[in-house]
Symmetry: C2
Subunit: 275 residues, 2 copies
């Protein structure tokens, strides 16, 4: 990696309390990294470091990391998980997808189903979509009133603050792709037989609402990028750039958390005998 | 791999309805594989194949695979997950550990907490310990009456049959290590600071009950190795032998299941246009 400034998180963060505009964010991320191959191997090293840190987080068992991945269809949420977290494997990492809520879930408040699946201490939990859908698609398609959406920003901030205060570090990533890049990826999903299962004709209806979705993202990021749970806006038109930035920010965060293997409690390594 | 007979599953299976003895099973697995390095790279190739098959299973979304891992402390359950499933990553694979049941879980029947976490269609679910603890530790420590244990074998078979009939393929592995090998691994956990968090002094108490645990395993395997959910007894004194056998059996099973990418439903790849 041609050494971008450290920590990388600050560069892609949406500053809490400040106006936020997506137009100022380049989805290609030009000029951040020099060479593709170098960057890819830096990402692999970061994934290796994340694996080692995750093992310590798991062993420590006192804190969790919640990674929220949001982005329009085809923004690369699954690909990001693969590049950053496959190295860790499934023992201490759980991916939680959020689909359209069920009738039972709709009979509860919108955070109910989310709270049930927040990561336990020791774990890295990855939300593939999240409670943010309740201020994104819910706003664009008017599944909730404008007043309810308005109230939710504050409720989400309070919910995330509670999680943070109770030991869960939160990292939120919006995978930012251009409308042209989405078109190319949708076409690929339609053309390549092994990718067709990921395509849903309804995605084309959502594409027509592109501007409304982007406005909803801008509002959610502006209102919910907080000191305790910052939003990062990741240039995602090129997979290797996206992966490199997310991996580095996750690594930086885990290094800052600095989890420790616990000391033996209630037994003394010097006196215990195996017979 | 110096080509052991295929399918490998048959070689390590406990034959349904037949008497079963652990004494006849060599925990070192001598004579199965020739060279260590070759075997390790065969395992990596199997893990790669499993990753591709898991993607198809996930895309198909109609069936699940449940992998049950049982074994005495230090038998290598986590190591097996890493070697066989890390390649797949956490998107379509979930590891479910079972610890001592909570008060709320004890207030229900013993299969209640298990059923809640069986894998959804499309997923590979891995149980690190399982409902078998309810006929293993529960038998050794008399947490349940002899009559209840006796009844449970049949209940477990019926439960697993129901899962199988509803689309979940079940593979059960007992990781079989020798008492000497356990001693060595326990000593390592005590001596290596980064491994101490895995050690629990209660493990030494369980070790004193070795023979009783082995008798409980023999009964569980004999009574619950069925055509629909066979038990495999894996030589586990050497990690690379253990990993190679489990990876191969998982691969064989997924190949036999032969999941398919689904055909487009409700849309035609030739007429859909992205604008």
């Amino acid at each position: 990696m041609s050494d971008p400034p450290k920590p990388l998180a600050a560069r892609f963060c949406a500053e809490p309390g400040k106006p936020f505009s997506l137009a100022e964010r380049d989805p290609r991320g030009n000029g951040i990294f020099a060479a593709k191959e170098e960057t890819k191997s830096a990402t692999e090293k970061d994934a290796e470091a994340i694996d080692a840190l995750q093992d310590r987080l798991f062993a420590e068992g006192k804190r969790a990391l919640l990674v929220v991945l949001q982005g329009i269809d085809c923004s690369g949420k699954d690909g990001t998980v693969r590049a950053v977290f496959n190295r860790c494997g499934p023992i201490g990492v759980r991916v939680q997808p959020f689909r359209a809520p069920s009738a039972d879930e709709l009979a509860q408040d919108y955070l109910w189903r989310v709270h049930k699946v927040t990561p336990a201490r020791g774990y890295i939990g990855i939300f593939n979509r999240s409670h943010y859908e309740d201020v994104l698609v819910a706003r664009v398609k008017a599944f909730a009133s404008a007043e309810a959406i308005e109230r939710r920003y504050g409720e989400i901030n309070a919910f995330e603050k509670m999680l943070t205060d109770n030991g869960t570090r939160i990292l939120k990533f919006m995978l930012h792709i251009s409308k042209d890049e989405q078109a190319e990826r949708l076409r690929e999903r339609i053309e390549v037989p092994e990718k067709r299962w990921k395509f849903n004709p309804a995605d084309l209806e959502d594409r027509k609402l592109w501007d409304q979705f982007m406005a909803a993202y801008e509002a959610a990021i502006e209102r919910c990028s907080t000191e305790h749970a910052p939003w990062h806006v990741i240039p995602a038109d090129r997979n290797w750039v996206r992966n490199a930035i997310v991996a580095r920010i996750v690594r930086e965060t885990l290094e800052e958390m600095n989890p420790q293997y616990p000391e033996p409690r209630g037994w003394d390594p010097k006196s215990v005998k195996v017979e």
